[in-house]
Amino acid sequence: MTTISPPPAEVLEARKSLTQGQLPPWAQWSMVSACLVVGLLIGLTTGFSTALALVLGAVAALVVVPAVSWGVEGVRRAKDRLATLLVTLAFVLALLPLLSLLSTVVDRGRHRFDWKFLTDDMNRVVGEGGGAYHAIIGTLEITAAATIISVPIGVMCAVYLVEYGRGWLARSITLLVDVMTGIPSIVAGLFAFAFFSIFFGSGIRFGIGGAVALSLLMIPVVVRSVEEMLKLVPNELREASYALGVAKWLTVIRVVLRTAAAGIATGVTIAIARVIGETAPLLVIAGMATRTNYDLFDGRMTTLPVYIFNSNANPGARAEFGLERAWAAALTLVLIVLLLNLIARVISRVFALPTR
């Protein structure tokens, strides 16, 4: 017969509080901010650069928090806290380039971001002045042409994959669409160049070639996003339409595509935002011009990305003006891209399918 002896005194003492042996919830983040503030103060007083001081503060936090936690809570909690800090740090690290990039572009681009920049081209401009009107026109026309080519093909391909596709053909198309999203943009440009130079002779440069190259990059993006949207359309809607005797093609057009219209618009906008910043294929096939060219089918056409690239590579005799134009064009391009992304979000938010 064994007797159950009462637990020793120190164990009873330890059981007094459930939260004993734990750091309070605010401890972790206050330690982190303390480390950062101390690092910043040391940096300001000793004349280190602020960035370096913050880095040192962050490293100190990575050491202090797990050390304190190890002392109070034991090794498992300490590891957990270290992991939390590292993961958060990874996220912050990823935001740094975004913030730095946006602030640099705004800071350097605002000097020349004016009405003259948006309405002048570069014809006979050597030093000061000049603008990106021709590049903006080129960007809009080529992107619009690429959109006109890729949206019908992309939407029909997505319709095939969702509504008709069976068997090996659908499977291989799905896989190859995914692979196509990874085609290097310069390869698309080279393809357009090789293709058109066979028909029109070597050295061909025109806008529509750029549109073909861009649509090669755009189609897979459109297919992917439209496919996702079509899959979201409830099957009951299709069945209801079939039950009323509506033909399949009419069902797809008037029920499925119409239900998914907002999602499709979002996907197309995202796809446009993706290709509008492409430089490499246009450098190869659309070339570079200083005058405004409205004709997609004849002559070289400048686009904003190529304009940026060229203003940086050949800034002209007085380099500072060329660089100012490059940054102003970068600001224009970033604004266009962000605006397109914003429009896409708004469309998907406002016209979203009602969720039941």
């Binding site: 572009v105 992309g154 896989l175 085609i183 290097p184 069945e239 910043g277 940026i308």
Partner: protein
């Protein structure tokens, strides 16, 4: 996906689509429902499905056309006389250093981006407050929206100058490693800078795939390990990461594919020469295939143009292979993940 058959069973299946809209069909004589013969597939259906299949096949044709036209235009370079090619050498010794540079820059980018993207994806999927998670995801996606030429400008004028002190430090204290042999480039436009810019550019796609995979972890397994007293880190190490292994591999390969093909950022940031060098902080760096094409194309003609196109074909083959393997892994996963979800 279930597929309701439109043309079987229903009495009105043979009638034109307009007939079903009128409510008056009830009053019509019953012999309307007596089918004379099996109706052919409706013309509209045939055209529409034909167009859909055609669009699908066009994708295959387009991919094949890329390979074929690059081959046609690039073929002369493979057999060309070395004296006509850039640097007076045969095609393979022309493309060799470029291929090395391409892979080297991409590997640097991958080494930086893989741990970061896993961390970011974990932060969004398992650490950030639920309500914020989606917004934070958008923020990371914005990185993908920035055009590569803007990354190039940023790399030259912001990152490179700020990286020089770090490079000097690396040369001083880690100079015994062949990678940091130096002498440090004064402009900072080195292989490591290009790799950093590439890493930032491939972060969004890698994070997106990783996040997707992490969120697919069976909820029950996560909850079970938490219920057994695991800390959050232990739960992630024991359930999320093992489950996501193949997803992480394929996201890395997708990132690799992007980094291999990225053109403008590298072309602008890297000051390149025709060498093979493992030194990532000096001013002599090998160029990449894509950057070399972008920089040389406008000034090239004749057989040199063919050589550039042929190098583009090599790049296409490499990226196609990498992307194909990555997607094949993802797709195989997708089929199996339903079983244990």
């Amino acid at each position: 996906m279930t597929q309701p058959a439109a043309n079987s069973g229903s009495p009105s299946s043979g009638s034109p689509p307009g007939a079903s809209q009128g409510g008056s069909s009830v009053t019509e004589p019953p012999n309307k429902y007596v089918r004379k013969k099996r109706s052919p597939v409706r013309l509209g259906d045939r055209i529409f499905s034909g167009a859909a299949v055609g669009a699908g096949i066009l994708i295959l044709v387009a991919l094949a056309a890329v390979a074929v036209f690059l081959l046609i235009e690039g073929l002369p370079a493979f057999t060309a006389d070395p004296s006509d090619l850039p640097g007076d050498q045969n095609f393979w010794s022309f493309v060799g250093p470029l291929l090395f540079g391409t892979v080297f820059a991409a590997v640097i980018a991958l080494l930086i981006a893989t741990p970061l993207s896993i961390g970011i994806a974990l932060f969004i999927s398992h650490y950030a407050p639920r309500r914020l998670a989606q917004g934070l995801g958008y923020l990371i996606d914005l990185l993908a929206a920035i055009p590569s030429v803007v990354y190039g400008l940023w790399g030259i004028f912001f990152l490179a100058p700020h990286a020089v002190p770090v490079f000097r430090w690396l040369e001083k204290y880690l100079g015994w490693l062949p990678f940091f042999d130096g002498p440090t480039s004064a402009t900072g436009r080195t292989m490591l800078t290009a790799g950093l810019v590439l890493a930032v550019m491939i972060l969004p796609i890698m994070t997106a795939v990783n996040r997707e995979v992490f969120l697919q972890t069976p909820r029950l397994q996560e909850e079970a390990s938490l219920a057994l007293g695991a800390t959050r880190y232990e739960m992630i190490r024991m359930t999320v990461l093992p489950f996501a292994q193949s997803g992480i591999v394929s996201s890395s390969m997708l990132g690799l594919g992007r980094a291999l093909g990225e053109t403008l950022a590298v072309a602008m940031v890297l000051s390149a020469t025709d060498v093979v060098s493992f030194d990532v902080i000096s001013s002599t760096n090998s160029s990449t295939i894509a950057a070399n094409i972008a920089l040389d194309f406008p000034e090239s003609s004749g057989i040199r143009l063919n050589a550039l196109i042929a190098s583009g074909l090599v790049l296409f083959a490499v990226t196609f292979f990498v992307n194909y393997v990555a997607r094949a892994i993802v797709n195989r996963r997708r089929e199996f993940s339903g079983a244990n979800a």
